[in-house]
């Protein structure tokens, strides 16, 4: 875990002091809401349907037990005893009072957390592979580069007023666990033939009303050039991205309108000039600084353990429920004798991504005791204990069960991504959470969900697509039809290494029919599936027609 040095801490102190002054002026009436709005938005403070919402950054998704305890405390004291983990490594707290926000920011800063650049048209919090440092496939630790980008992009003078918000993801393994192709920039660490470390650079992904998957504009960028190359991309975007229409302002529109090749040529030309003029050398982080950041993450003191744990094997044999949990929520670790545990925040009937303060405290304790003090925020709105010894898995499971977080459903039909929807959000056209709850109830029997297998359902309450419905195996989009909530279904999408946008199934369905339609889709898949096929594989093999016929036949 990256440890802030004195300079990092001073940066935060200056920020919170600034915001305290600004809030003071607003509360005293010296600033109007109109004048205050851009200032509060720079600190992730939104005014929503019922109250303020504070979006707290969880840089590249990494948490220590101290940080998680602090988030638990803040959500208990200043919100209503829970927080909402998003798909972009943020925690959102609703019901926040304006006058409390400076104190909250101080409490966050004490543990190295903040809400800097969690809103506004700037470079947002970085998303990284939640299994960083724990999975065997990664070529390097993506957190080192994420922190390098975080520092460079914080209060960047040239890139704080971009045409639109800007999100970057950093992965490091062949399996994509960041949804890199739906980011403004997706970076994937890789080695070239000579064994050098670099990045594949993908630019111009995004969902919303015009979804695009990011094309690769450079197959290999040496790591030493990372920041200057990012600066070249951002400069081209800052200068030439559209600003006349908020719906056309993301970089995806610029990339799509120029074409990936032309866009890449412009970036390369800008970068070449920056390199020749010496500007690139001033921007790029010196090797010594990257090495310092790497050191500041520290090393995890893994023990020499046997690859097989007898206690773990015995527990699996004795308890089928535990064995099921292991099948779905536990992954192999790069170090023998350890495992990666994903904690589902998708218990049937609960709000996807929500976590109570008590649960946060309990997870923080688990992290401290069993996972070298580390927890992660997974972009699919779950949490991760990255380094658990196999011997300890039964104890971790027992505790998760006690706090209601042992749902064995990672990647299954009940592991649903949903935005807050009309229940909270001013932009939404329809509710998302009740739809997720309806569907989850249909697959509440873990044996049924397991039989169906991997099925990624994603729900957005409006076209802004915060629930990432375009890349769901089944995507569900809430639309407003003359004041009534309807839902449009898409099939076959993915945001991962097999990235693809979903195809529209047919006319939108009324809310009460959605869960039933999902049932019909799943039945169709079960009838048609070949050995070893996931829902999405069957769909891609047999196409839309059988699914469409099944769902709309039912309607007559």
């Amino acid at each position: 875990m990256y440890r802030y040095d004195a300079l990092d801490a001073e940066m935060l102190a200056d920020r919170t002091a600034e915001f305290r002054t600004q809030v003071g002026r607003r509360v005293a009436g010296e600033l109007t809401e109109e004048q205050f709005k851009p200032l509060r938005l720079m600190n992730g403070l939104y005014l929503q349907l019922h109250a303020y919402m504070l979006r707290i950054a969880i840089p590249y998704g990494t948490l220590t037990s101290r940080k998680l305890h602090r988030l638990a405390h803040i959500s208990r004291v200043y919100s209503r005893g829970y927080g909402h983990f998003t798909t972009r490594c943020n925690l959102q707290l609703h019901w926040i009072k304006l006058k409390d926000t400076p104190d909250i920011l101080d409490l966050l800063a004490e543990v190295g957390l903040h809400s800097i650049q969690t809103s506004g048209n700037c470079i947002r919090n970085i998303t990284a592979d939640p299994y960083a440092g724990a999975n065997a496939e990664e070529v390097d630790d993506p957190r080192v580069w994420s922190e390098t980008i975080r520092q460079w992009s914080t209060f960047h003078p040239e890139f704080s007023f971009l045409p639109r918000k800007f999100k970057i993801a950093v992965g490091a393994a062949p399996d994509d666990r960041t949804a890199a192709r739906i980011y403004d920039i997706g970076l994937k660490l890789r080695r070239n033939r000579e064994g050098q470390l670099g990045f594949e650079v993908m630019v111009g992904g995004g969902l919303g009303r015009t979804p695009y998957l990011a094309p690769t504009i450079r197959e290999f960028l040496p790591t030493k050039d990372l920041l200057s190359y990012l600066a070249a991309i951002l400069r081209v975007y800052n200068r030439y991205g559209r600003r006349d229409n908020i719906w056309k302002a993301r970089i995806k529109i610029l990339v799509a309108s120029l074409g990936a090749e032309q866009f890449a040529r412009q970036v390369e030309a800008e970068w070449k000039t920056m390199t020749q003029s010496g500007e690139a050398a001033r921007i790029d982080a010196p090797e010594a600084e990257v090495a310092r950041i790497r050191r500041a993450f520290g090393t995890t003191p893994f023990k020499d353990l046997p690859a097989v744990s007898e206690a773990f094997e015995a527990a699996k044999a004795a308890d089928p429920a535990f064995a099921r949990f292991v099948r779905h929520n536990v992954l192999p670790h790069k170090v023998p004798g350890y495992a990666i545990v994903t904690i589902s925040l998708k218990a049937p009937g609960e709000v996807p991504g929500d976590c109570s303060s008590d649960q946060m405290d309990a997870i923080a304790d688990l992290a401290e005791r069993y996972s070298f003090d580390e927890a992660r925020n997974h972009f699919e709105q779950n949490l991760v204990l990255p380094h658990v010894a196999l011997d300890d898995l039964p104890a971790v499971y027992a505790e998760l069960e006690r706090i209601g977080l042992a749902t064995p459903n990672i990647g299954l039909a009940t592991d649903i991504i949903a935005c807050p929807g009309l229940d909270y959000c001013t932009l939404a056209n329809a509710r998302a959470i009740p739809i997720a709850q309806d569907i989850a109830r249909r697959f509440a029997d873990p044996a049924v969900a397991e039989e169906v297998g991997e099925l990624r359902i994603k729900i957005s309450g409006c076209i802004n697509a915060c629930g990432q419905h375009h890349v769901g195996h089944i995507g569900i989009l809430g639309v407003d039809k003359k004041g009534e909530e309807f839902y449009q279904l898409t099939l076959g999408g993915s945001g991962l290494e097999d990235a693809r946008l979903g195809e529209i199934l047919g006319p939108a369905l009324p809310g009460p029919r959605v869960a039933e339609a999902v049932d019909v889709l799943v039945d169709t898949y079960m009838k048609e599936r070949a050995e070893g096929e996931r829902f999405v594989d069957t769909f891609r093999r047999i196409g839309l027609a059988p699914f469409k016929a099944a769902v709309y036949a039912e309607a007559h």
């Binding site: 040095d5 300079l7 990092d8 001073e10 940066m11 200056d14 920020r15 002091a17 600034e18 851009p38 200032l39 048209n121 520092q151 460079w152 914080t154 209060f155 960047h156 003078p157 040239e158 890139f159 704080s160 007023f161 971009l162 045409p163 400069r235 800052n238 200068r239 600003r243 000039t273 003029s277 500007e279 001033r282 921007i283 982080a285 010196p286 010594a288 600084e289 310092r292």
Partner: protein, 172 residues
Amino acid sequence: MQKLIKLDQGRPAWVEDSFLDVPDEEPTPGQGDVLVSFARFQEEGEALAAAGRKVGVRLKADEPVEALAPFLDRVAVVALAFPKFRDGRQYSQAVLLRDRYGYTGELRAVGDVLLEQGRFMVRCGFDAFVPADGTAPDDWVGALARYRYVYQTAVDRREPNFALRLRAAEGA
């Protein structure tokens, strides 16, 4: 005469603006220093310079600095106009003027220029400001001093955190 905030050794202070800002609809006055659009500069710039008058050029956010670059040695002021404070194109234009084209004259922020953006503007090379929010140099002194450290290099050449760390490590 219009007043503007100008950095004097890095410190914001009021100065009288000796340049008359001439809109395109009006003819260029017969004497004095003038600030004109890029279009007018292209037509009249040479004649004005020949008459020994100082000329400044206003650039809109969609007028690329590349077009002005060949003439920078004849320009006394470049005024980059912010149509809205949220429109950040002029930050990139400022960086290019300073770092790529070596412009050392006055770089003025005009249009929707607000105190809260001042620190970004200074870091990108602006040294003169016509604030749209009624703020005064005292406000700017405070706002510019708010952040003691910076994470990245910029036109102002403030030493970024990574360089401070490197220096500390070498000194240790």
